[in-house]
């Protein structure tokens, strides 16, 4: 069911790309094509496969010859294609509460329906959420495959945490070697890290350009971008995708052309977007508002040394603001709000999520202190059955009315 979907998606996007006129927007389609191709590889059964936690080092795994992906990607894909409800119901039928994270319920349902391909092994991370770790443990048990757990310290990137995590990443490499039967090739790993660094440089440019007023990003250009593009790190695809975005945004910025029509209110979106089809983005655009930055669309790490990648990879994981005390996350959000000149922020407060809901009050207070009003939604970003479009529309519109009234409009 899922493999044919990705195959059809990839061929469909290839056809559309081939038919595009030279001046038409292409970046989002290129990105979607690479993701569809990744989906094909994940579900083809022809490649070494590792299901992972969100913070796994995908570029290192690429250098080790492993196709890898965080499991939540499957939940998002199922929601975006309208196929998530039977999976959620399958999980709920086994006793998973509807108050659990929809991403994890969806993947659990897909596992129970035997729609998840059997991995060669799994690599979980203890951050940013324990639900993801539990899901990977369930998958490992279900498929009778070995699980390596990367224990991510919660203290941020201090030197002892970096050393501790770097040691674990070295142990992870040995774990992969044991399970693939192939020794790690430092040259291949170094090349993957080089490509990851190139992509990082280009992403910095992309995000720098995206700050322009009006924003060059069209409605869905950067939707789900930062988190998902991490799956491509280490490959040439990541470099090409980032370069395409950079070039496209640069052209728009130089021409003074905005991506969204009539951008009057600039918004920041926290954490994940709503993954199922909803009228939200279109409604925002109709109201003259645009999401110009997502929390997860930020480069928070330094380049990694290709000759000795482990400390740099550890530092990268530890700089992700979803790891550790919420103060670091608030500091990033305030910086993004300032850099992108946003008028307000939307926190979806994804149900059943510590990151989404646990610190919402502190985040709201931190942004308010910086003069940024926050709208807290209460949505399950995956489960369309709990979605009330009317109430959501009222909240959004009232929020925009409040912002405009503050601006004297």
């Amino acid at each position: 069911m899922i493999l044919p979907y990705f195959e059809s998606l990839a061929s469909g996007i290839e056809s559309k790309l081939a038919a595009l006129a030279p001046d038409e927007p292409v970046a989002r389609k290129r990105f979607a094509l690479e993701i569809a191709r990744l989906g094909v590889r994940l579900f083809s059964g022809r490649e070494r496969l590792a299901w992972c936690g969100v913070l796994a080092p995908f570029d290192l795994l690429h250098g080790l010859g492993v196709t890898s992906c965080f499991t939540e990607f499957v939940g998002a894909m199922l929601a975006s294609t309208g196929g998530v409800e039977p999976m959620l119901e399958a999980a709920e039928g086994r006793g998973y509460s509807t108050d659990c994270c929809g991403y994890h319920r969806a993947v659990t349902g897909a596992m129970l329906q035997e729609l998840m391909p059997r991995p060669d092994f799994l690599i979980a991370t203890t951050a940013p959420c324990s639900g993801g770790l539990a899901l990977n443990e369930s998958l490992a048990r279900h498929f009778a495959r070995d699980l390596f757990v990367i224990d991510v310290p919660n203290r941020g990137p201090d030197e002892s945490s970096v050393a501790y995590l770097a040691d674990q990443l070295r142990a992870m490499t040995r774990f992969v070697e044991e399970h693939t039967g192939e020794p790690a090739d430092p040259g291949r790993i170094g090349a993957a890290i080089e490509r990851s660094n190139q992509a990082r440089e280009l992403l910095l440019e992309v995000y720098g350009l995206a700050r322009a007023r009006p924003s060059p990003a069209r409605r869905r250009d950067l939707f789900n971008f930062g988190l998902v593009v991490s799956l491509l790190l280490g490959s040439q695809s990541a470099v090409e995708v980032a370069r395409t975005y950079r070039d496209e945004f640069r052209r728009r910025v130089e021409a003074g052309v905005g991506g969204a029509p009539g951008e009057r209110v600039r918004l920041m979106w926290l954490q994940n977007r709503i993954q199922f089809r909803s009228p939200l983005e279109e409604a925002l655009e109709g109201l003259g508002a645009a999401v110009v930055v997502d929390e997860l669309n930020a480069v928070t790490w330094d380049a990694v040394d290709p000759a000795d990648p482990y400390p740099g990879l550890a530092r990268r994981i530890l700089t992700v603001p979803l790891v550790g005390a919420v103060d670091r996350r608030i500091a990033l959000l305030r910086r993004l709000a300032r850099d992108y000149q946003v008028d307000g922020a939307i926190n979806p407060c994804h149900w059943g999520c510590r990151q989404g809901s646990g610190a919402r009050g502190l985040i709201e207070a931190g942004l308010r202190q910086a003069g940024v009003p926050v709208l807290n939604l209460e949505v399950d970003c995956i489960d369309p059955r709990n979605f009330a479009p009317g109430q959501l529309a009222t909240r959004l519109e009232a929020f925009l009315e409040l912002i405009r009234a503050r601006a004297g409009g």
Partner: protein, 262 residues
């Protein structure tokens, strides 16, 4: 010329006409029922008849409520939050905290010194504690919705608590309490205090301290003096209620129509 505000909610459709001087000329409340277009037409027709004016006298219409985008000929659709704030500013100047409990939503709205919306919070996930909730509870108790306030007044012990605010669970809990011999008046009082506790939590999200704030309630549930009293006790503040609390949103819409009309 007159200016029309229409508030199309889940339980009632309210219409208010104001004149050039922002004085209320007429108002009308009709049940929304299953067909909101018919309710909109009935409210519009009713208020025009009451005022003795025809359609061409309406210079501008502003719509609010969940069906606001279904009102034909509107100058603008504005959310209930902004409209209730504008309405209460006209009726009870100086209000800084407004609690609006309607048919399926409850909202806490913090107003700045000039009566504009500074912050707001809406009920999340479900309609617990709203007009629909009270309707279901009245049905479970086999009493009329309009009698809840009087029943609350008759309660003497006022200590009964409900463990669930889920409309389905609370209704079955109410039925169980009756079977166990609890007095209806005590159950009603318990329901009202439960709504007040939920309202208090909503208020805390936007106003951690309410000391010194002038508080008002609007929406159909504000007609229930038992709920108003319970909210007042929960917040520790006197709560003012305009004479026609369910028309505050429509009044606000009419006043916005007056302001925005060329």
């Amino acid at each position: 010329m007159v200016y029309l505000g229409i508030d199309i909610g889940s339980l009632s459709c309210d219409a208010v006409l104001v004149d050039e001087g922002e004085r209320v000329v007429a108002w009308r409340v009709v049940p929304t029922g299953a067909r909101n277009l018919e309710a909109i037409a009935a409210a519009r027709r009713g208020v025009l008849e009451q005022a003795g004016v025809d359609e061409v006298s309406v210079a501008a219409t502003v719509a609010t409520g969940y069906g606001r985008n279904r009102v034909d000929g509107r100058l603008a659709a504005v959310t209930e939050i902004t409209c209730h704030a504008r309405g209460v500013r006209a009726l009870l100047p100086g209000t800084r905290l407004l609690v609006d409990i309607g048919g399926q939503d409850s909202k806490a709205i913090l107003l700045d010194g000039e009566g504009r919306v500074a912050e707001f919070a809406m009920n999340d996930k479900c309609a617990a504690g709203t007009g629909r909730f009270l309707e279901a509870m009245a049905r479970g108790l086999q009493v009329e919705l309009a009698d809840l306030a009087e029943l609350d007044r008759q309660a003497t012990e006022r200590t009964l608590t409900l463990s669930s605010m889920c409309t389905v669970f609370a209704e079955s809990e109410v039925v169980s309490l009756i079977a166990e011999g609890a007095a209806v008046a005590e159950i009603v009082n318990g329901l009202h205090r439960a709504i007040a506790a939920r309202t208090q939590a909503l208020v805390r999200r936007i106003a951690p301290a309410v000391d010194g704030l002038q508080v008002a309630m609007s929406g159909g549930v504000a007609r229930n003096a038992g709920v108003v009293s319970a909210v007042s006790a929960a917040l520790g503040r006197e709560v003012s209620v305009p004479a026609e609390p369910d028309t505050v949103g429509a009044l606000g819409a009419a006043l916005i129509a007056r302001e925005r009309h060329g």
